[in-house]
Amino acid sequence: MSGGVAVTDPPVTARASWFEPLVGQLLALLASLAIAVVFGSALIVAYGESPIEVYSSILDASLGKADGIGYVLAIATPLIFSALAVAVCFKAGMFNIGVEGQYLVAMVTAAWAEIELGFLPGPILVPTVLIAAMLGGMVWAAIPAILKVKTGAHEVVTTIMLNGIAVSLLAWAINFPLKFTDAPPGQNVDLRTDPFPEQGLVGDLGKMFGITPGAHLSWLLFLAIGAAGIVWFLIRRTRLGYDARAVGTSPGSAKAGGVSIGATQLKLFLISGALAGLVGMQQILADRGHLPQNYIVALGFTGIAVAFLGQNNAIGIVFAAILWGILSRGEVALQIQSEVPREFIIILQGILILSVVITYQIAKRRLAARQLQRAGEAGALEDSAGPGDAGSPPGSEPEPEGSKAFQPADEREG
């Protein structure tokens, strides 16, 4: 029927299809690490220190002893949740910058659950509190999601505004409904909530491995890794993930294929909110045992950095979070052993994010060009129109040149 070149062999499911992009991403990551290390070295030298010494003291503090590893993993745990939340939305083409606010609200709802439902036995209380946290995050995420779907309000602005509101909300909660008022007389206590019941806390994981309880490594780590697995499965192996990816990259085609864009966006934002809700659990359930006024901030924003570092891929995120933990833990080493200020780590992390984002872009384009090259060599592009407007390569933007080079059955044109 086609009357053209002979058909190629029946299509093969090539191993190379997922292999190549993975290699490309790893190379991009390594390249950015290298760039960061190089810039960092320059800075270290400017402070009169030896880069090798500084880097090895960082690695020693993080990985040298069991304690270090404990700290690293404890730092990584909330970051995994945070980055997963960001990545889930990103897959659907949305930016959830509101993880920050979502976990604050979640801490409030979790704290409420701990205090009001504290009579429940441990095995029921803990999951209940976690669910309360996820619901809190979901509600806070639902607001920008609904606004986006109904009014088209860009989620970047709305989520950030909601972050600001969440800060005030948490401040109000600590000052009024959840305020800790039972301090023993004479003791000056910071503003915070009541302490959570013993059975409502998440146990220390570290003691099984000889890691100091000071690291606060908890079972939440396994929950985080489990969440990563679930997210991976969701994105790659379910209908919702499929719809999300279609909406995220080609909303027009998704819509023409019957996918409801608004419904998909909403669902993914809610899942994102649920994940965000778990970000603060490490600090209030494993670390502090209550919700303090000086809670840890910026986990939402750091999660964005980790998500980029992990290429918005569930597995990559776990490793990226650990890498981040290694760097963060290294701050301690610098403080103790070096002239280089601890803020150096922040600069290193900053350069890393920047270069990841850029090298990833470069890798993506190279990969696309190589795919095209190979397709062309296989003769699969013979009928391509030449590049479309202003230089887009074939296969991405066809130039609609009509080509009716033949006559209809009857000679009609005069």
């Binding site: 086609s2 070149v5 058909v7 190629t8 029946p10 299509p11 499911t13 090539a14 299809s17 379910t238 209908r239 919702l240 499929y242 080609s250 027009g252 085609s253 998704a254 819509k255 023409a256 294929g257 996918v259 409801s260 696309a368 060009a369 795919q371 190979r374 397709a375 062309g376 060599e377 296989a378 003769g379 699969a380 592009l381 009928d383 391509s384 129109a385 030449g386 590049p387 479309g388 407007d389 230089g391 390569p393 074939p394 296969g395 991405s396 066809p398 130039e399 609609p400 040149e401 009509g402 080509s403 009716k404 080079a405 033949f406 006559q407 209809p408 059955a409 009609r412 044109e413 005069g414």
Partner: protein, 510 residues
């Protein structure tokens, strides 16, 4: 300097020469040692089918792409054209097939952009100059009109004036008549003749052989990146040109299957919405292909989208075998039995960043065959589907795991076709189904569409190419400014249909 072929030509030395130009892109050799010569005061047509490399060649001349090999000479001197600025400085201008105009700006602002004459703008002065220039060559434009308010023909005039304002002597037009009505084409040709008389050179890239034979002085034919011939209208014919373009005799007949045409499958009554559709009424019967002809921009896209559920309607009814479609979601409409070949295969057909097998199931991922009750995808089944589709429709690819973006235009269209036809829809909506495809792919698509007819299904064909309309349709209607302006049989003369496309006929059944 070789003076070629003085017979009948003006014999003057070439104004520009492209000598053995080669240009590569990833996976494609677009121009393979192409040589071309342009003389002053001529209209030189450059023809070839899709992928032949004609646009690419001119883009090299215009400085958009650097050549990978070969030289360019202008007025005898070898030159390096590294950007459009260089080209313009050498007197070469280009009007692209897709206009590059800034919509919110006025005509004058668009024309002077890049050539403003000083750091502070003097719009009044510039407007006067534009008006003078337009008069000189007989173009009708309003210098202070906003481009977004202009018609397509007027926009084209602005594009040409942009080049003339910069004093170009060689004007390259890429498929200039693709978006014009027959009347606007006549106007354009009048302007081109005036320019030729003034000593300008026009390069006319086109695939419309009739027009080429009408306006050109010399014709160069490209095929697969190479020059296969150069001739004059007096020495050739449409058939010979077509054969040169494609490489084999193209007296191309498609047998329309003899099918008994049945009851109406699709009934559309007074469809209107969003300003573009103003009361469209039509019917498509079982075993029938209804061709909707019209120049783009008259509501074709809106009509297709309305039928598949992508657009909200303000009024009118749509019925498929009695079931009401208006107001339903895309998913529902597809389930009722409508297939959709969109005119924008990237924006509405495929998800380019997904693999072929993922694209194969787009629209059917909810089917119990392809996913479980809980939403888990049955990947093996989907891949089986994909493999079958790819084999059946001869989609050329290394594997089904590559991204859809790596497929050529023709193969992408085949994949979409395969996917849509797999569900055996009662109604197939095909909008500009062969745009950008080469002859082989076009034959294939047309054959599939005719097979739908043979199977007793209904096909709504929307196309701006009259050839296609005539080749496939059992009945033809014309769409102009959102209404159906005429109905014709395939025996009707194209001039008649052309009038309908211009809105000059009111509902005459042929």
């Amino acid at each position: 300097m070789n003076e070629r072929d003085g017979a009948g030509g003006n014999g003057s030395p070439p104004l520009a020469e492209l000598d053995q130009i080669t240009k590569r892109f990833p996976g494609i050799l677009a121009n393979d040692e192409v040589s071309l010569e342009l003389r002053p005061g001529e209209v030189h047509a450059l023809i070839g089918e899709n992928g032949a490399g004609k646009s690419t060649l001119m883009r090299v001349l215009y400085g958009i792409y650097p050549a990978d090999g070969g030289t360019i000479r202008v007025r005898g001197d070898e030159v390096k054209i590294a950007s459009p600025r260089d080209a313009i400085a050498l007197g070469i201008g280009m009007v692209h097939q897709h206009f590059v105009l800034v919509d919110p700006f006025t005509v004058t602002e668009n024309i002077i952009l890049g050539e403003e004459g000083g750091p502070v703008l003097d719009i009044d002065e510039a407007g006067k100059k534009v008006a003078e220039l337009a008069d000189q060559y007989g173009f009708r434009v309003n210098p202070s009109a906003r481009v977004e308010d202009l018609s397509v023909g007027e926009e084209q005039r602005v594009e040409i004036l942009k080049a003339l304002y910069r004093g170009v002597e060689i004007l390259i037009l890429d498929e200039p008549t693709a978006v014009l009505t027959p009347a606007e084409t006549k106007d354009l040709f009048g302007n081109l003749r005036k320019l030729r008389e003034a000593g300008r050179t026009i390069v006319f890239i086109s695939h419309k052989l009739d027009e080429v034979l009408e306006i050109a002085d010399r014709i160069t034919v490209l095929r697969r990146g190479r020059v296969v011939g150069e001739t004059r209208p007096a020495e050739t014919s449409k058939a010979k040109l077509a054969e040169m373009m494609v490489g084999r005799p193209v007296l191309f007949r498609l047998e329309k299957p003899q099918v008994k045409i049945g009851e109406p499958v699709l009934r559309v009554q007074d469809l209107s919405g969003e300003g573009k559709l103003n009361g469209v009424s039509l019917q498509v019967r079982a075993g029938e292909i209804l061709g909707v002809a019209g120049v783009e921009g008259n509501g074709q896209r809106e009509l297709a989208e309305a039928l598949i559920g992508l657009r909200k309607l303000e009024g009118g009814t749509i019925e498929l075998e009695g079931e009401n479609l208006a107001g339903r979601t895309v998913e529902e409409i597809r389930n009722i039995g409508v297939g959709y070949i969109p005119e924008d295969r990237h924006g509405q057909g495929l998800v380019l960043d997904m693999t072929l097998w993922e694209n194969s199931v787009l629209g059917r991922q909810d089917d119990p065959e392809f996913s479980t009750r809980f939403g888990v995808l049955l990947i093996r089944k989907i891949k089986e589907l994909a493999a079958r589709l790819v084999k059946l429709f001869d989609v050329r690819t290394r594997s089904i795991d590559v991204n859809a973006s790596t497929l050529s235009g023709g193969n992408q269209q085949k994949l979409i076709l395969a996917r849509e036809l797999e569900t055996d829809p009662k109604l197939l909506i095909a909008a500009q189904p062969t745009r950008g495809l080469d002859v082989g792919a076009i034959e294939f698509v047309w054959t599939q569409i005719l097979e739908q007819k043979a199977a007793g299904r209904a096909v709504l064909l929307i196309s701006a190419e009259l050839d296609e309309i005539y080749a496939l349709s059992d009945r033809i209607v014309t769409l102009y400014e959102g209404t159906i302006t005429g109905e014709f049989s395939p025996d009707a003369a194209p001039e008649q249909v052309g009038l309908g496309m211009l809105g000059r006929v009111k509902k005459e059944v042929a």
